[in-house]
Amino acid sequence: MSVLFDGLSLGAIYAMIALGYTMVYGIAKMLNFAHGDIIMVGAYAIYTTMVFWGKGLWVAVIGAAVLCTLMGILMEKLAYKPLRGASPLAVLITAIGVSYLLQSLAQLIFGVTPRPVNLGSFGSVEILGASIPVSTVLTLVIGAVLMAGLTLFVNKTNTGRAMQAVSEDRGAAQLMGVNVNFIIMITFAIGSALAAAASVFYLMQIPLVEPLLGSMPGIKAFTAAVIGGIGSIPGAMIGGVMLGVIEKICLSIDAIKDYTTAIEFGLLILILLVRPIGLLGKKRREKV
């Protein structure tokens, strides 16, 4: 039971990160490999506000959200916007470059040693006979609320509709008066804000900050996004939760726990063999 809860909450973290990958891919048609490092930025923001400045958790969370959002927007404006219309490969390499840049900057500023950051203790609650840490429950509940909010936003608002239109056909959307640059900026902002939320919950589980903190959850979440069908928002949620649960289940079984990561990526390969577009991916008709 507690394994399931752990898995669901880890899955919620993966899902929040995966949403950033999938939305940016769906709308800007690029893989933002620096997305994972935004989590690291959020984690250091929390570390700085709480440990250096001695502020409370809420200040740290809001600070991280604001910083990550700005970071996402800045990254898009400086690194990706000048490459609008360039070959996908150039954009991809740039994204990898941005990722290294962020990691190196963190190493320069904070050094390479992992530093502990204590978000405070939350205790645990009894759910269906199992003792579940409150942080796990918080992750699940807030994760679910954020994802529901995002779904509503995309489906029921002007901006959401414009986002969907840009993802379907950027050229046509632009000719219908959609401000594509603004929509892409909003997408990066939302993705990065979700990454900030993920960084908070990540630190609740593993209270250590280090410059490479974002890369593993980033890759896992990217895997989740691809499993779910990249470009699809519900796909990223399902993929993330699935991967989190599988990871925790594998880790709880002694015989296979050393192979957890291999099993996760094996699953990716398996799913791609059967369904190359991912679980909920849409087939794209070639445009002539």
Partner: protein
């Protein structure tokens, strides 16, 4: 001419050494139905691409209601009042019919609602959503698509997809509508219906329409003036009947 709504001055574009369109001078009056015809590859769609900002003209310029629009971005040109449809349909396929139209509506001042307002779900968010929905239904009604509003755009039959494209363009509240082969692939009955709708757009909504079409019955039935292009240059311009009976035009279409 002072009352020209759209005026192009020596408009032209070259790709590398190829002059795809050159020296195009158009003057389209308010509420005119104007045709742009010519054999395949004559540069008709290229003209549309220049007028909507997809391509930057290499030569000349163009004005809408006296305002120079050359060099403006695609969405700016759309906001100024030029909307278009596409030769090969480019609907937002995986969105419902009504959402396609609502995307067109989303920049109208009366429906403007900032992301922050939507995010906080302020009352204005809901009132604009309802108003948009009503307006979208109204537009769909013109095209007899209201019943289909919750279907996915890609599931509509071909003729209706063509009509939905016009509806979506109309939703951006243009002064000038550019229709790229609106009747292509339609059966005679659908073509007849479309002619009625296009005329209605002019008479009831005061639109000015520039259209590309190969169906000469469609062109002569609707347009009072046309420009015939061949290999990027103007072959002839003027009242439809006279232009179409021009020996040069006949030669361009069917050879000597």
């Amino acid at each position: 001419m002072a009352d020209a709504m759209l005026r192009t001055e020596n408009l032209g574009i070259s790709f590398g050494g190829l002059k795809a369109v050159q020296d195009l001078n158009l003057e389209i009056r308010r509420q005119q139905l104007y045709g742009l015809v010519g054999p395949n590859g004559a540069g008709k769609t290229t003209v549309f691409n220049m007028l909507t900002g997809v391509y930057q003209p290499t030569f000349g310029t163009f004005y809408l209601d006296g305002e120079e629009l050359k060099g403006k971005s695609q969405e700016k040109i759309n906001h100024r009042g030029i909307a278009r449809t596409f030769q090969n349909i480019r609907l937002f396929n995986n969105m419902s019919v009504i959402r396609n139209v609502m995307v067109g509506l989303h920049n109208q001042p009366e429906f403007r609602c900032t992301p922050a307002e939507s995010f906080l779900r302020l009352p204005r968010h809901f009132s604009t959503e309802y108003a948009m929905r009503d307006r979208a239904k109204e537009i769909l009604r013109i095209f007899d698509l209201e019943e289909e509003r919750n279907n996915l755009a890609c599931n509509l039959p071909y003729g209706k997809q063509r009509k939905l494209e016009i509806a979506r363009a109309l939703a951006t509240n243009p002064k000038l509508l550019l229709l790229d082969e609106p009747a292509a692939g339609m059966n005679p009955y659908e073509t007849e219906d479309l002619m009625r709708i296009v005329r209605g757009l002019r008479d009831d909504y005061g639109l000015t329409i520039l259209l590309i079409e190969h169906d000469m019955k469609f062109v002569s039935g609707l347009c009072d003036e046309i420009t015939v292009l061949n290999f990027g240059t103007v072959l002839t311009q003027g009242p439809t009947d006279r232009a179409l009976s021009d020996p040069e035009v006949i030669k361009a279409y069917i050879g000597e």
